[in-house]
Amino acid sequence: MSALITRVNPYLAVLGVGWLVPILKIATGDSPSAQLRELWQQLGIPVVALLLFLAVWAGVAARIETSLGGLPGPAAVWTAAKSLVVEHDAERTRRAEFYARQETRNAEALAENPDADVRVRRYTGKPTYFDQILTSLATVFTGFMLGALVAVPLGVLAGLSKTVNAAINPLVQIFKPVSPLAWLPIVTMVVSAVYVSTDPLLEKSFITSAITVTLCSLWPTLINTALGVASIDKDLMNVGRVLQLNWLTQVFRIVLPSALPLIFTGLRLSLGVGWMVLIAAEMLAQNPGLGKFVWDEFQNGSSESLARILVAVFTIGIIGFLLDRIMLALQAAVTHSAHR
């Protein structure tokens, strides 16, 4: 039993629930005092620190008076979060009513004229907070995937060939530090000029934000992939040569598997960067996601605005944390398989 616990330990740590281990060990009767100390270390201290943070926040917030009222404390933010859920439910009710009205209207039109052209139009109400979270996730994944599709092959080429590496290195160094705010106007104009369609499948603002995410997030993947490929054991490459594998087979059988751990390190960094720049991109591109939510609330300037923005801050943070954990888990998985 305790051997099993030791085996699952790294996986639990990756998932961020490493503190389960001491509890499991206590359950199996493994020296309780040592495990309790471990539990305190892993779970107690973070919880106490969190409570301390909340207390300091509540104390400081009460003293800061802005023109939009006091800086909201934890309680106000919690209330705002609950009201966002209530608003979400109310909006869903309105949506149901909208479709019901439309159905009646369509039925009437059909009754009057059986050949009438009836369609179901999409709901015209506002996106709720949860819709906005989903839009943000969809945008960041689109941008991130586009980035990965460009960065991984390019990185493999750069890692395999010193010439390619020397050619793209200056470009990478120049573009890597550019902020999304600098890209956005250019991307906006290019998307408006190039993406012309009378019935667009995707909103322009969505594409603009996604491409901005791509431009800012592809660099870590590119650099790490190149590094990973370049540092493959020379013996392995020689084996490939001896076996006279063709180039593609070499890439897929030898290069990619050996470079996977670093590629995933790059992807993980990229997703983190992408999520961070997305909010800025959405604010300016008016893509209906969390960034726009923050911007709209700032514009509203109501007495609840700051609390609602803080809810978004925590949402952004928690989602960013979860995304990172997922990537870390994937990274751990491929690292293990690569080492087998």
Binding site: S67, D296, N300
Partner: protein, 456 residues
């Protein structure tokens, strides 16, 4: 005859019920309209919330925009089908100032609704020059004469006196300029090569998006601003500034926002355009019905985060017919927001001509234009025929009264002297009007700094 009226009304109602099934043949029924978070977007919110759009078979999405430039650009590129616009925007776009695209309007959204706010510090300095009435309160309207010594003292101390408005072709810019110039303060000229609008200026005007006005004032970047509601009342309630004058006092019942679409869109979707205008007229009627009886409900709608989003109390301040100047000094201004009375929604050519005269006055139009150019430009942007067609349909459906609309108007309001300086405006003779304004370009004047020296 009196007995006949109810009968006629019920006949009209029956006709209406019959007519309701016969909706206009819409070219497009899913539309997206943009707006800026200001109380005068109300007709759009009301038409949506009360189902007036759906009554016309229109499925409309309303979307707040970041600022006036983004809004106009998105209408021009077709991302938005139409939008709540500054009256100057379709006109400026059409004559090629700022951008170049044909934008038209068949519906004026409201009259009045703006004010000028100054920072607490400036107000304290101004107050010494404002006459006090028998009740111990400052006498309104407050002229810019009271601001002049303050501006002079800032300039003497070497500090630029900055004020903000919302857009170069906004009503707010022209109103602020009008008020300043009427008090002998020069707001500066635009020229073809210098679009800052600060040539020869005593007060430096710059652009800030409406919702950011109070925060920018509080930060000390600007000393005052001209903006629509609720951003003046917001300054009072947050204690960051004092509104000194409403635009109702600068020019009684001045035209404000319009509903703008591109000329291309209007030509491709004539029936949809009519249907939209019908819904908006109904919304405007509702907003002004029974002496503003519905305003409370409208305030509740506008306070929702997806529309204006400011606190209800702030929006209610001006929407319900009062206006709070200094904190505690609330005065009745029943016509502060007019949505339908005084034929507010009819797109008057004379309104467009007034904006054109102000563009000429401040150099946005760099050279002299003949009177008939003003009339022709107004005609190419304002579309009263579409408006009256929509009105006719509403009357036929029994949803509006014959007397609600100026059927026989030639598009020009009567000449009026309802300005703070009493200068009479007649839309039929714009050049003569420009001559009658003391500060500003007229005749063949060029907006150069040298010109200014000789003018003084």
């Amino acid at each position: 005859m009196r007995h006949l009226a109810p009968v006629l009304a019920s006949v009209a109602a029956i006709v209406a019920m019959g007519a309701e099934g016969e909706q206009l043949a819409l070219e497009q029924d899913e539309l997206k309209f943009g707006f800026i978070k200001l109380t005068d977007m109300a007709p759009l919110a009301v038409a949506y919330e009360l189902g007036y759009f759906e009554d016309e078979g229109l499925y409309v999405t309303l979307e707040p925009q970041a600022n006036w430039k983004v809004l106009l650009d998105r209408v021009i590129t077709g991302e938005l089908d139409g939008a709540h616009m500054l009256a100057g925007q379709p006109i400026a776009a059409t004559i090629g100032f700022g951008t170049n695209a044909r934008v038209v309007t068949a519906f004026s959204m409201d009259l009045n609704g703006n004010a000028i706010t100054v920072s607490n510090e400036v107000w304290r300095a101004m107050k010494a020059h404002v006459p006090v009435g028998a009740d111990g309160k400052p006498v309104h309207p407050i002229k810019a004469d009271a601001l002049k010594p303050v501006v002079e003292s800032y300039r003497a101390a070497g500090k630029p006196f900055n004020m903000a408005m919302v857009f170069p072709v906004s009503t707010h810019n022209y109103e602020l300029r009008y008020w300043l110039a009427a008090g002998g303060i020069h707001p500066g000229y635009y020229s073809a090569s210098d679009v800052s609008g600060q040539i020869g200026a005593d007060v430096l005007l710059s652009v800030t998006p409406p919702p950011q006005m109070p925060a920018t004032l509080e930060a000390g970047t600007i000393f005052g601003y001209s903006v629509g509601e609720p951003w003046n009342q917001q300054a009072v309630i947050k204690g960051v500034g004092v509104p000194v004058i409403t635009d109702y006092e600068i020019w009684k019942n001045n035209p404000e926002k319009v509903f703008g679409v591109t000329a291309g869109w209007a030509e491709a979707n004539p029936n949809t355009h009519l249907a939209v205008v019908k819904a908006l007229i109904r919304a405007a009627m509702w907003l002004d019905a029974n002496n503003n009886a519905n305003r409370r409900e409208a305030v509740e709608m506008l306070a929702r985060p997806e529309y204006v989003g400011a606190d209800e109390a702030v929006i209610a301040n001006s929407m319900t017919g009062t206006f709070e100047y200094e904190r505690g000094d609330a005065r009745p201004v029943p016509d502060f927001n007019v949505f339908f009375r005084h034929f507010a929604t009819y797109p008057h050519y004379s309104d467009a001509v007034w904006y054109l005269t102000q563009m000429r006055r401040w150099g946005q139009i760099a050279e002299r234009k003949p009177d008939d150019w003003y009339a022709a430009t107004a005609k190419s942007v304002y579309k009263p025929d579409v408006y009256l067609q929509a009105a006719r349909l509403l009357v036929a459906q029994g949803l509006a009264k014959e007397s609600d609309f100026p059927w026989t108007s030639d598009g020009y309001r009567e000449p009026t002297g309802d300005f703070i300086d009493g200068v009479v405006y007649d839309g039929r003779s714009p050049n003569a009007y420009l001559e009658s304004l003391a500060i500003g370009l007229k005749g063949d004047d060029l907006p150069s700094a040298a010109e200014l020296v000789t003018a003084e």
